[in-house]
Amino acid sequence: MKHHVVLVRSFVVVAGVLAVALAGCVEASQEAVAYDAVAVSRDAAKDTSSGWIVTLSRADVALGPFYFCAAASGSSTLCASSIAEVAGVTVVNALAPAPSPLGRVHGFSGNVQSVSYDFGISWFDTQTAATPAPSLPGGHSMRLEGEARKGAMLVSFTADVDVVPQYQGQNALSTASAIASVESSATRLEVVLHPAGWLRQVDFDAIAATGKVPFAIRPGSAEHGAILVGIKNLSPLEFRWTAAAAP
């Protein structure tokens, strides 16, 4: 009988030791991170390629959601699984000198190569039409007001811009470059906007010729298409990750 007791006891002791020893024994290659995202503006004035100097007096821009991807292309069909995201829409004053909070980035550590995002108007998988988020200014992605000057000519304009996804289940900008290697939550994401550059392809000569003051740019017009080219191709958002104090 004693034999039995000794055997069972030693067995239980070993099991107990193992259980304790295993408590901290986990090695992982990726961890969950969460950090702040802010919108930062750069240079409210810029030359357009046809010689006009554009100055904005108002730029209320809806930003988000943002999905960051480890793949080279962030498109929803090539990147079904994001490495990080900002799952919300924030309307910022793009002319504010100080960084505006954009919400929190939630995701995992690792390499980021691309991003896929909207300007407040999304067409998620389960929505039958592109839908603006409730907080959008007038239901539009952005409201811009400003003037363009070339020599003695002055054009003042307002623009309601809708950046709309092309197909159901896609983002308005289905892919854009965003390179980073995120190690921990001691990070901050800066989304850099250069709003005046969004008007680089606008034909102000033609607008000046119409003589309308202020010239209202509405969705569906050629000038609206030019602003979309500015937003997507000529002066796109830039994404910078910087070190920050751990939260």
């Binding site: 292309s73 929803s76 197909y167 289905s174 892919t175 854009a176």
Partner: protein
């Protein structure tokens, strides 16, 4: 006692030896135990749209705004076929670039390369380049040396001549682009990456070149969801001489020629560096996306050269 000891020793020794032998044999990776080698045949196939052009209509694969597109000449410079195994890191390939006349392609395509004595496993990373033609690029019969010299002289990766026809109106074009791009991580339409070599057999690997991307309404990322539209052929022909030149493309503003919607110009780059996005930039960007694999399989990792 001594007998038993030596008996036991002999047995243990015998076991040790047999276990050593046994532990060392068998294949280390996930392949079948029989190993073996096979061949890889790489052949380049032009899509149907190059051979037969595009038809107008209302089906999803037709041109929606009434244009008929046809090509009379289509040259590409393609090569640097490469394959790699992720499990061992072994790679095979051939860096040479070939100039191919896709209109004169045999029905089974151009056999560009045959690799022999390749390990009979899955080579999951396959890639190739549609490269800007340089000295050393060779034509493959029936492509002529003159065609190859033409491509090399201009440094084109793709050159085509053709015409769009709508309602009696014809617009011709002759365009060459130096839009060299590498295509990697090619997978079949079912999503199976690369190719598998059978032991003692040949696997056919088929990079497929599409001929209709410039008529898409977006820059393809992954699955192709698009309307085919060609009205910009007429819109950009500003001097109305029924011929659309590269210069006219460069001056053609996308704002009027490619209205958004239906177009989505995400990922179009300012290829000519003039600070504006023109239809030339759009077509040039599309000329960096038309390399596919095994028919409609994608090669999603692309890098401009």
């Amino acid at each position: 006692m001594m007998n038993r000891r030596s008996e036991g020793a002999a047995l243990v020794l015998m076991t040790l030896v047999s276990f050593t032998a046994v532990a060392a044999c068998g294949s280390k990776d996930g392949g079948s135990s029989t190993g073996g080698n096979g061949n890889v045949q790489i052949f380049v196939v032009p899509e149907d749209t190059i051979a037969n052009g595009l038809q107008p209509g209302t089906e999803l694969e037709n041109v929606q705004d009434g244009w008929t597109i046809s090509y009379s000449r289509y040259l590409v410079a393609v090569g640097n076929f490469r394959a790699r195994r992720s499990d061992t890191g072994d790679s095979i390939g051939d860096p040479s670039i070939h100039v191919l006349d896709l209109k004169a392609a045999p029905t089974s395509g151009y056999v560009v390369k045959e690799l022999t004595n390749v390990a009979a496993v899955r080579w999951d990373k396959f890639g190739y380049d549609i490269a800007n033609a340089k000295a050393g690029a060779t034509p493959l019969a029936p492509t002529t040396q003159a065609d190859a010299d033409f491509m090399i002289q201009n440094g084109y990766s793709v050159y085509y001549e053709g015409a769009g026809v709508k309602a009696g109106k014809t617009i011709t074009f002759k365009w060459g682009f130096a839009a060299g791009t590498s295509f990697d991580d090619c997978a079949s339409p079912d999503g199976v990456p690369g190719f598998a070599v059978p032991a003692g057999g040949t696997v056919q690997v088929k990079p497929t070149l599409h001929g209709d991307h410039q008529y898409f309404d977006n820059i393809t990322q992954g699955v192709e969801i698009t309307k085919r539209l060609a009205q910009w052929l007429e819109t950009c022909d500003k001097d109305a001489n029924a011929e659309l030149t590269i210069e006219e493309l460069k001056k053609c503003d996308v704002v009027t020629a490619l209205p958004q919607p239906p177009y989505d110009l995400t990922a179009v780059k300012d290829q000519d560096g003039d600070g504006k996005i023109s239809v030339f930039d759009y077509v040039n960007t599309q000329m960096r996306t038309f390399g596919d694999y095994q028919g409609d399989g994608e090669c999603p990792t692309r890098a401009s050269q």
